[in-house]
Structure formats: C-alpha cells, structure tokens
C-alpha cells in the first residue's frame, strides 16, 4: 500500500523538489524582505485589488475566514493571496538570493546579536504594517503572538519534561489577575478599586513590573503542582494539575476585590503590538536559551529516564521545580499580556476550554520544540478564526483534528527540533 502511493506520487514529488530547489538557497534576510514588501504592497493596493476581485474588503487572514462564510469568493481570495503575498515574496526571494546571502554573511562578521536584531526589526516592521490593515487583524496578531509564548511555556513541562500537566489555565489566570490588579487599581477610575492612584504616563515602567509580578505569582502558585511531582508522575500528576486549574478558578470566583465571577475589566490599553512583540521575543529567547543548555536538557533526561538522570548527578527535584516555576512564570506573563489585550477577563476564561486550546497548540505543533510551538500556536489561531463561523461546531472539529494528529503524528508536526538562531539567520549558500 505504502509502496504504491509512493510510486504514484514520486514524479510529482520530484517535480516539486526541482521547483523548490532554488528557494532552499534563500537566506532568511531575503524572505523577511519579501514579506515586508508584500505587507507594504497590501497597504498600497490591497483595498482596490480586493474591490476589483469582488471581495469588498481586504481578506483579513489570507481569506481563511471567508472560506466558510462566503465560499463563492474563494477564487477571488486565491487570486488576491497569489498577487499580494505569494508572487511578490517568491519573486523577491529569487531576485535577492545572492544579495541576501552576501548581506547575511556580512552581518555575521559582527556579534550575532547584530544580525539577530536586524532580522527581528524586519519581522516586526512586517507584522506592524500587516497588522495595520484593521483592528481585527491587529487583535488576532497580538493574541497569536501571545499564544506562541504560552504554548512554548507549556511545552517546557509537557514536551521537554514529559509530564502531562493540565495546570496552565491556572497559571494564566494567576498572571492575568496579578497583572490586572496592579494596573487597574493604580491607573484606572473603576468601581472595584476606586479612583486611579497615578495619573501620569507611568505605563512604560509599571506595565513590565505588573507582568513580571503576575509571572512571579504564577511561579509561586506552580509549587502546588511542582512539589507533588517529586514523587508522582503520569495520570496522578495530570489529575493534581487539573484540580489546580479548578481550584484557581473557583478561588478567583470567590475573590470579591477582583470582581468575583463578573470578572475584571477596563485594563489600560498598554498591550499594543510593539509591547507584545518584545515580550514574546524575550520570552522565546530565554526559554530557548534554557532548553538548549545542559541544565535545561536535564528536563529531557528526567523525562526519558529519571533514575538514570539521578545517577548522573542531576538533581531531579530541583530540575522539576525549576521547570514548573519557569514555565508558570512565562505563562503568567502571557496571561498578563492576554488580559491587557482583551482588556477584560473573568474566571471562566481560564477553564477547561482554555486547557483544551493550550494542549491542542502544544500537541498539534510538536513536543520538545520551539518551532513546534510557533507552528502550533499560529496554526491553531488561524484555524480557530477560520472555523469561527461554525460557532459551536468548532469545538467538535478541533478535538477531532487533535485526535487525528495524535494517531498519525503522536509527537506533533515539528517535534524534537532544535531552534538554532545562528542557523536561521546564516547565509544559505
């Protein structure tokens, strides 16, 4: 059976490989430039082009939302995506292959940070311009970036350390409420905390502080799950962590000073795109640093054989505690950002549905992998927006997809792949 399909698809595969071959030599610098040009192009001619194609307005997420809402517009969307994104990016990638590689090599003659920052600036500029089209796109973009951070932080426990933890919604809630309590009480005239304490423009310093505080609260809360994990693994720990999520939820529901079940709203509008981008980049950078160090690889050793890890001088308790607190910290920061993007949270935001979402992103994208977390978070958020017209059926389709992935690719799409920044920004020829 497998042989048959292989021989059937072999020529197609070969043709695809030949077609793709020149693109494998394109440096990241060229790809990002292409993406930036596409974003600018859309800014300039997106609206008239969409109008000409009969789409009415610019397709917000590559037309994914339209597919179910107005299937008749699909051909127009395909033409739009080709003309605005695929052709310009492909063209620029091809045209600047030589130049891009040369520049990338030139940049690497300085400390790696220089080239990294250049790439990040290009990426940020692309996202900023792309997200300028309308508020909805900007919102989805910010939530997706935050999802990357949250997914990666969960991956630390469930992927890198191999525990099936269900405590992430609890960590998110602690971070969201921790950060919101600070910002709302100090800066907003609201019914819960009374008039604002500060009126000046202190957001640039107070917001990072409140996010970190939320992260620390989540990290401390994570000890409730980390300590049992010294002796318990597998199913029992999964149940303990699930209980943790429910406990946090009902704890906040009964906490009147943060609004109880009604939730907490009117967070200051501080989580704009640059702020979210910087936090997510820093978070991914720190997490990636950690999991690639020998100290971070101890998580893998504990996962694959704890007795061997212990016998090889690895302090397994410390490793577990660090993993949980570290993961919870970034989840808390993610939760704080999330609360300030939506500017409203209530306890039921952090229930079983949130758990299904974060687990889906981790297991869909891939265990033990930064790439996997990016793919999982971006893929899931796009899919989730695309399926939005189906309303409640969305929550039938997503679990079914998850089950299929678990059957055919149990570790996810891009699992166990090292995220090597140098390799990404290096010239490709």
């Amino acid at each position: 059976m497998a042989v048959k399909t292989d021989s059937f698809t072999a020529p197609t595969k070969r043709r695809l490989a030949t077609f793709w071959q020149p693109y494998t030599r394109v440096a990241m610098l060229s790809w990002l430039t292409g993406a930036l040009v596409a974003a600018i192009l859309e800014q300039l001619v997106g609206r008239p082009l969409a109008f000409m194609l009969g789409l009415g307005k610019v397709p917000v997420l590559f037309g994914l939302v339209i597919i179910l809402k107005a299937p008749l517009l699909i051909p127009g969307v395909i033409v739009y995506v080709l003309l605005i994104y695929i052709l310009p990016i492909g063209l620029i990638a091809r045209l600047t292959t030589k130049l891009g590689n040369k520049l990338a090599a030139e940049l690497l003659r300085y400390p790696m940070l220089v080239s990294t920052v250049v790439h990040l600036v290009l990426l940020y500029a692309t996202l900023q311009i792309w997200g300028n089209i309308n508020d909805y796109r900007n919102l989805v973009l910010r939530l997706t970036l935050i999802s990357v951070l949250i997914t990666l932080s969960l991956n630390v426990i469930n992927g890198y350390m191999g525990e099936f933890s269900c405590s992430h919604p609890g960590f998110l809630a602690l971070g969201a409420y921790g950060a919101s309590a600070v910002t709302v009480s100090l800066f907003v005239n609201d019914n819960l905390f009374g008039p604002a304490v500060f009126t000046g423009n202190w957001g640039w310093i107070i917001f990072p502080f409140s996010l970190i505080l939320g992260g620390i609260i989540a990290a401390i809360g994570s000890l409730v799950v980390a300590i049992p994990s010294f002796r318990t693994r597998g199913d029992y720990l999964a149940i303990i962590s699930l209980a943790f999520t429910f406990i946090i939820k009902s704890f906040i529901e009964n906490l009147e000073f943060v609004g109880g079940p009604r939730g907490l709203s009117s967070q200051p509008d501080w989580a704009n795109l640059p702020t979210v981008f910087i936090w997510v980049v820093v978070g991914v950078w720190v997490i990636n640093n950690f999991v690639r160090s020998t100290m971070g690889k101890a998580l893998n050793a504990v996962r694959d054989d704890e007795i061997a890890a212990d016998a090889m001088t690895v302090n397994t308790r410390r490793t577990k505690m660090v993993a949980f607190m570290f993961s919870a910290f970034w989840a808390g920061v993610g939760g704080g950002l999330f609360a300030h993007v939506l500017r409203y949270v209530n306890p039921s935001t952090f229930g079983i549905q949130k758990l299904a979402e974060v687990l889906a992103m981790v297991y869909f994208g891939g265990l033990n992998s930064v790439y996997g977390s990016i793919v999982g978070a971006v893929g899931f958020n796009l899919l989730s927006e695309a399926l939005r017209p189906l309303e409640i059926f969305k929550w039938i389709i997503i679990p079914v997809l998850l089950i299929l992935i678990m059957i055919f690719r149990p570790t996810g799409l891009v699992a166990f792949k090292e995220f090597d920044v140098h390799q990404i920004i290096a010239p490709k020829e």
């Binding site: 160090s293 020998t294 690889k297 996962r303 694959d304 212990d310 090889m312």
Partner: protein, 256 residues
C-alpha cells in the same frame, strides 16, 4: 585509606531478604568483582550503595563519608559513577548530550547562565563538551557523538553508558554486567576498554559479572554472592577453586 567501606549491610524487600550482612572494602584504584547466580542480590547491592534503595540495616562510607540516606545524585557527585544492567539511556538525546549531562554537578553558571546564555555558560559548555569528547574517545565511541542513541548497536551503547558514568568524575566506577548480551568479539573489546579506562584514569572499578573468565582476567579480588550472602571472597584463583563456589555454579560451565 579505604575508598569504599561497607559494614553489615542488610536489605529486605518486604519479606524478601535480598542482601544479608554484606561487608566490603575497596582500595583506591582496585578492580573488584562480584559474581553470583541470577537473583543473588548483586544489582541490589549496587542500588543500595548508589542511593536507589536505603538499606534496612548497615553502614556504607566513601572516603569516610556516609552514603546512607543520601539521594542518588548526591552520591554520584561524591564519586560513585555507575552503569545499569539493563541500559538506561535517554532515547531522545544524542550521544554527546548523554555524556554532557553527567557533568551536571560541575555546572556553576546557574540559572542566570541558563536563561541568558552568559559568557561563563559558553565557556563551561565548551569545556564540558571537550571533556565529553575525550571520554568518548577513551571508550572508542567518539564517531557516534552526534547520533541519537536509538539507532546504535548494543555494544556501543554499553560503552556510551560507561563514558557517561565516567563524566561524573567518579572515584569508583560501578559496572553492572558490562558484557551482558555481547558476542565474544564485543566481549574482548569491552575487556580491553575497561583495562584502558582503568590505566588512563586510575579509577577504582567494582563490577558485576556473569562470565567467570571475564572476572578472572580483570579483577584483583572477587566476591561470590548467593541468596544475598557472600559465600566466598578472595583472589580469582582462590575463588575458582573454592568448593562452595563450584557448588553454587554446579551444572554451569565456569568458562562461559
């Protein structure tokens, strides 16, 4: 001064007496053998001395410091490196990462280094890697450094486990049936490697073996364990000719 000293160690698994009144004294640089039929309690002795189990009774010291009640990673850092009878490798990690991991206790860059990739971390990780390569060369497995352990032959995996144990900088190396499942060719190689490691690093070795010939050629002294009790102790020659040992191994070919 005695390196490893064990006095009257006894261990019960529930009602099962796995080890009874066990005594041991190993000098620095010595090669000591432990033989005995299956289920005699040999691996249990290793597990008791490395902190996997805590003995019901008895005392054990390394360089005069008690091992009882310490956790395995503390004992490993004190200077007992070990391998396992049934390989215990980390299936998602490369060979080099295995050896690096055993330097965990020597890392001083801390969480700050791990999170932010400080210069100290770069330096230490480079040093660790260099040491790992050296140890892999020592056991003749350096050409597999970048491979994943799931695809390698059994004989190589045994060597990797040994290199990993050596990376903890042990004063004494515990080898639990280092030749189990090996063919005669691999067995010869393993014997040469153990000799080589011993002469290069001067580390004491305590090894459990099934094959008499192996023990007889390598060890300075040998203990024979039957049903958790030492029935004979002495030089390989004495052991080989001890009637009690011959009886315990009755029906078995001493040369296999």
């Amino acid at each position: 001064m005695t390196l490893l000293h064990v006095q009257n160690m006894t261990h019960y698994f529930g009602g099962l007496r796995a080890v009874y009144n066990y005594n041991l004294s190993i000098e620095p640089g010595e090669i000591r053998g432990l033989i005995g039929p299956n289920g005699a309690g040999k691996s249990t002795i290793f597990n008791l001395l490395t902190g996997v189990h805590t003995p019901t009774e008895g005392e054990a010291t390394l360089n005069g410091v008690s091992l009882i009640g310490k956790s395995p990673h503390e004992i490993a850092a004190m200077g007992i490196g070990r391998t396992f009878q049934n390989l215990r490798l980390w299936r998602h990690m490369s060979v080099l990462e295995h050896i690096n991991m055993a330097s965990y206790a020597h890392i001083t860059y801390g969480l700050v280094g791990a999170f932010f990739g400080t210069a100290l971390r770069q330096k230490q990780e480079a040093e660790i890697e260099e040491k790992s390569y050296h140890l892999l060369q020592l056991v003749g497995a350096d050409k597999f450094a970048d491979q994943n352990v799931t695809n390698l032959p059994y004989g190589i995996l045994r060597r990797i486990e040994m290199a990993r144990a050596l990376a903890t900088n042990p004063k004494i190396l515990f080898l639990d049936e280092p030749t189990a499942g090996m063919n005669p060719e691999e067995l010869k190689e393993m014997m040469a490697i153990i000799r080589h490691v011993h002469s290069e690093l001067g580390v004491a070795i305590f090894l459990i073996e099934h094959r008499m010939k192996f023990v007889m050629e390598l060890c300075d002294r040998v203990q024979t364990l039957v049903f958790g009790e030492v029935i004979a102790e002495g030089t390989p020659d004495e052991i080989q000719n001890n009637p009690l040992v011959i009886e315990a191994y009755l029906g078995k070919d001493l040369d296999t």
